[in-house]
């Protein structure tokens, strides 16, 4: 145990002053008796009576004083560091739309986040880590840092986007950063995509620590929503196209519902082969309004 503020040490003298105050009170305090003649046969005991005996109030005050002085001293517990440099880590987080898919009661993204946080909490004090998020393009969230608390905070701020993924690009960025300053970093990837879909050379893949979340590759998503209406057309002539893509490696079925001003105007039951895409045309709008961007749970779902 060490202290950061030794200048507070003299305050310990206050404890002595507190004792002196109590002693003074004890010596000054007199107990009135009707006569001392009855006490003449009792031997006078000045030493024992004047001796300091802590009372409960004194102990409480001394404790309070000690706590105050302790706070001023800024005590700390020294940690013995046997290494001068820590390991390096690069965390690649997939924040694409597929990470929003539910697995039981939680989403894939939260599962990946939990794993990433566990990894950060297990870092040594000198370990450095970099954080990269990847959707359609990679983004450097944090450079190498030893501030693990900040890193956890940045992880918490990440959110999955309504966008596709280009995980290969993010991994390539991580691998490019891996060997900087002559120190090799370990690259951890948190995604729901299978390793085989990355399209990277196997010598690059073998250096990755791959954390795949999700039990299936269910990944049916609305890839695009486009509305066509030229300046000379009214709402009834407008036409919307919804592009739905099955990213999974097996056929999937779903229901697409499109809303206009929160009122369903289009509903279509469909099935889609593996890795296929389908486009739906929505027209005949019965009034002007807001065409809701169909969310995963609202416009498309597994069947």
């Amino acid at each position: 145990m060490g202290i950061l503020n030794p200048s507070a040490l003299p305050f310990f003298a206050l404890l002595g002053i507190l004792v002196l105050i109590y002693l003074r009170e004890r010596w000054r305090q007199r107990i009135a008796v009707p006569t001392l003649s009855l006490w003449l046969q009792v031997k006078e005991d000045k030493l024992r009576v004047r001796r300091f005996l802590p009372s409960l109030l004194f102990l409480a005050q001394a404790l309070l004083l000690l706590m105050l002085i302790g706070g001023l001293l800024h005590p700390y517990r020294p940690v013995t560091v046997t290494e001068t440099r820590g390991d390096r880590w690069i965390l690649v987080m997939d924040v694409s739309a597929s990470m929003q898919a539910r697995e039981g009661r939680t989403r894939r993204f939260e599962m990946a986040l939990d794993q990433a946080e566990q990894l950060v909490k297990a870092f040594g004090p000198l370990d450095e880590a970099m954080l990269i998020s990847v959707a359609t393009r990679p983004q450097l969230v944090s450079g190498f840092t030893t501030d693990h608390r900040q890193l956890l905070h940045l992880l918490e701020t990440l959110r999955p986007l309504d966008a596709g993924t280009n995980l290969s690009l993010g991994i390539e960025l991580a691998l490019a950063q891996r060997d900087r300053q002559g120190r090799q970093a370990r690259v951890h990837v948190f995604t729901d995509l299978p390793k085989s879909t990355l399209g990277l050379p196997s010598d690059q893949l073998k250096d990755l620590v791959y954390h795949r979340v999700g039990k299936s590759d269910d990944n049916l998503a609305i890839a695009a929503l486009q509305l066509y209406q030229n300046p000379f057309q009214n709402y009834s002539q407008a036409q919307a196209y919804v592009l739905v893509r099955n990213y999974a490696y097996r056929p999937k079925g779903a229901v697409l519902t499109v809303y206009l001003n929160d009122k369903p105007i289009f509903r279509r039951d469909f099935s889609l082969p593996a890795r296929d895409v389908v486009s739906f045309s929505v027209k005949g709008f019965d009034g002007p309004g807001k065409l809701s961007p169909p969310g995963a749970g609202r416009c498309a779902g597994s069947r």
């Binding site: 305090q29 009707p34 009576v49």
Partner: protein, 308 residues
């Protein structure tokens, strides 16, 4: 300095419980006819029959017992227990020792006793003087006395007088009592309420002076609860005598406590023994007792009061 703050706490219900009591008089005499029966003294009229005596010229024929005359052929007249108005003198020690230890409220308790006792005296139509034995340190006369009271209605003058008193100064029982009896012609019953915490010659001479002047003396020894059990007051500390301001550092170990209690018992025994030798009625009361218990149980048991 302690005041007699307890006097005002005497409530009507308490006073009502005193209505059935009177002071037991053994030897005091009074000149005026009254209501207090005087044992062993007869008079030719009255209520309580005592004895017969042979008729003498001048005796009232109304009291000749004709039944006895018929049987014995002798003129005998009835005699009755004498009933007199007894002058009572209630002395209250107001020295500083009566005010210590403060937690005992000894002086207030003693003042309450004096007030209650005064009430009992006045409801029996005896005369009363309440005398506060003072000390020169207060810049007062050796005693402060309330003028003679004679009737129940005058009891209302007693509590205000007692409330003005404070416990302060040294004990001068001897000098105060001497100064009082020199100014008083008619002896009667003297009740001395004190803690008797003074040099033995002080209280001994005061009591002897009263006896010598023909007073029937009764001593009420007031002891504080913390005096009897000093562990209530302190464990260790600097004690000081409220009268002479001397100090002593005392640690209340079991052995020291025993020594103190031995000394206290010796003091109490000395006062009691002196009273016994001089035929003075002695009663000891503790402030731990309630006032009503003292007046209605302890005093009658000790022979100071009796039922009317």
């Amino acid at each position: 300095m302690a005041g007699a703050r307890g006097v005002s706490t005497i409530d009507p219900a308490f006073l009502k419980s005193l209505d059935r009591l009177r002071v037991r008089v053994r030897a005091a005499r009074g000149h005026r006819p009254g209501e207090t029966p005087i044992p062993r003294i007869s008079q030719p009229w009255g209520i309580e029959f005592e004895s017969y005596k042979e008729y003498a010229p001048g005796d009232d024929f109304r009291y000749v017992d004709w039944n006895v005359v018929g049987r014995l052929e002798q003129l005998l007249v009835k005699t009755f227990t004498a009933e007199r108005e007894i002058p009572f003198h209630v002395f209250l020690d107001t020295s500083a020792s009566m005010g210590a230890p403060t937690i005992d409220h000894k002086f207030a308790f003693a003042a309450d006793l004096v007030a209650a006792f005064s009430y009992v005296v006045l409801i029996n139509n005896d005369t009363l003087r309440v005398v506060a034995l003072s000390s020169p340190e207060k810049g007062q006369r050796p005693f402060l006395a309330l003028s003679s009271l004679r009737h129940r209605s005058q009891f209302l003058r007693v509590p205000p007088f007692l409330e003005r008193l404070t416990a302060a100064g040294k004990t001068y029982l001897r000098e105060s009592v001497r100064a009082y009896i020199e100014q008083t012609k008619e002896p009667g019953v003297a009740v001395l309420v004190s803690d008797f915490l003074t040099e033995p010659p002080q209280y001994e001479e005061a009591l002897v002076l009263l006896k010598a002047r023909g007073y029937e003396v009764k001593a009420v020894h007031v002891l504080g609860a913390a005096e009897l059990e000093p562990s209530r007051l302190f464990r260790r500390g600097k004690l000081y005598d409220v009268e002479d301001q001397s100090e002593r550092w005392i640690s209340l170990t079991p052995a020291n406590l025993r020594r103190y209690q031995d000394a206290l018992q010796a003091h109490v025994g000395a006062v009691q023994g002196f009273c016994h030798r001089h035929q003075i009625l002695y009663t000891r009361v503790s402030t731990a007792s309630s006032l009503i218990a003292v007046m209605t149980e302890e005093f009658p048991r000790a022979g100071l009061l009796t039922l009317r």
